[in-house]
Symmetry: C2
Subunit: 123 residues, 2 copies
DNA sequence: ATATTATTTAAGTATTTGCTTAAATAATTA
DNA sequence: TAATTATTTAAGCAAATACTTAAATAATAT
């Protein structure tokens, strides 16, 4: 049997609680998907990578390792996670793999890039 | 001395690399701040809490525990993290604490809520 | 005062994350 | 073919995360 979970405070609005459960059910898939994107962007290194791709169009792992002063494998592993979810894609040119944003999946982050630029430190 | 980090591929555009480093420097604070917000929203439970607050205005930990079928301490700990960063705030009414979004800090997430609603499953 | 209710805090733990180093692919060049 | 360069993959590990249960606060009601 289902665990007895119910808000016991007098003011608890049972209709509201039901409405909330329903809302979550209806939007469940979107929430799962979007939380994955946010979790990826919620890492400083990955957000920097995404931001740079938004600014520059495309860059290779070697570039990122250089710019961010991190090891190439560390970069590569961050990149893989974002590629797995379809946030970024790659194009090969000889030995070099150029990565770029997949515009479709980045709608959620458009705001983020804008917000970052808006908060730019005025030097 | 600084570690020798430089992209060695022939095509490496040193000007581009310098520009990238500069861009990151200028936007450093914003990136750190925003990545914190995204990391918080990048957890399914917390995204559900934020989404519900956006829909309903305010709710108490007890409500969330009920709706999300999770323990009250688990909810409380998620709430604390979001409160610490200023994403949400609380109002006391008797024993009950009502939480709500701090609009200012949620600009970044406005898009997210819209996107979730847009992707709603058409039943 | 004591009991009840709502919530937080703390301690413990299994899982996940983000790096490291070493080894494996893949493409180019000598 | 062998050597070099760009990248990925794998294994290992320390730190962070998200829960659990138990105990501590806080407000209300008896």
């Amino acid at each position: 049997m289902a665990p007895e979970l119910s808000c016991t405070r007098a003011e608890a609005d049972q209709k509201q609680l039901m409405r909330c459960r329903e809302t979550l059910g209806t939007n469940s898939e979107a929430i799962v998907e979007i939380s994955k994107v946010l979790a990826l962007a919620g890492n400083e290194t990955r957000l920097r990578i995404l931001f740079l791709l938004n600014e520059e169009g495309e860059l290779c792992p070697c570039d990122f390792a250089d710019i961010l002063e991190m090891s190439v494998p560390a970069i590569s592993q961050h990149i893989r996670k974002m590629k797995d979810v379809g946030l970024i894609t790659s194009r090969r040119e000889g030995q070099t793999l150029y990565y770029s944003l997949v515009q479709n999946h980045n709608e959620v982050l458009e705001n983020v890039f804008t917000k970052i630029q808006k908060n730019k430190k005025v030097a």
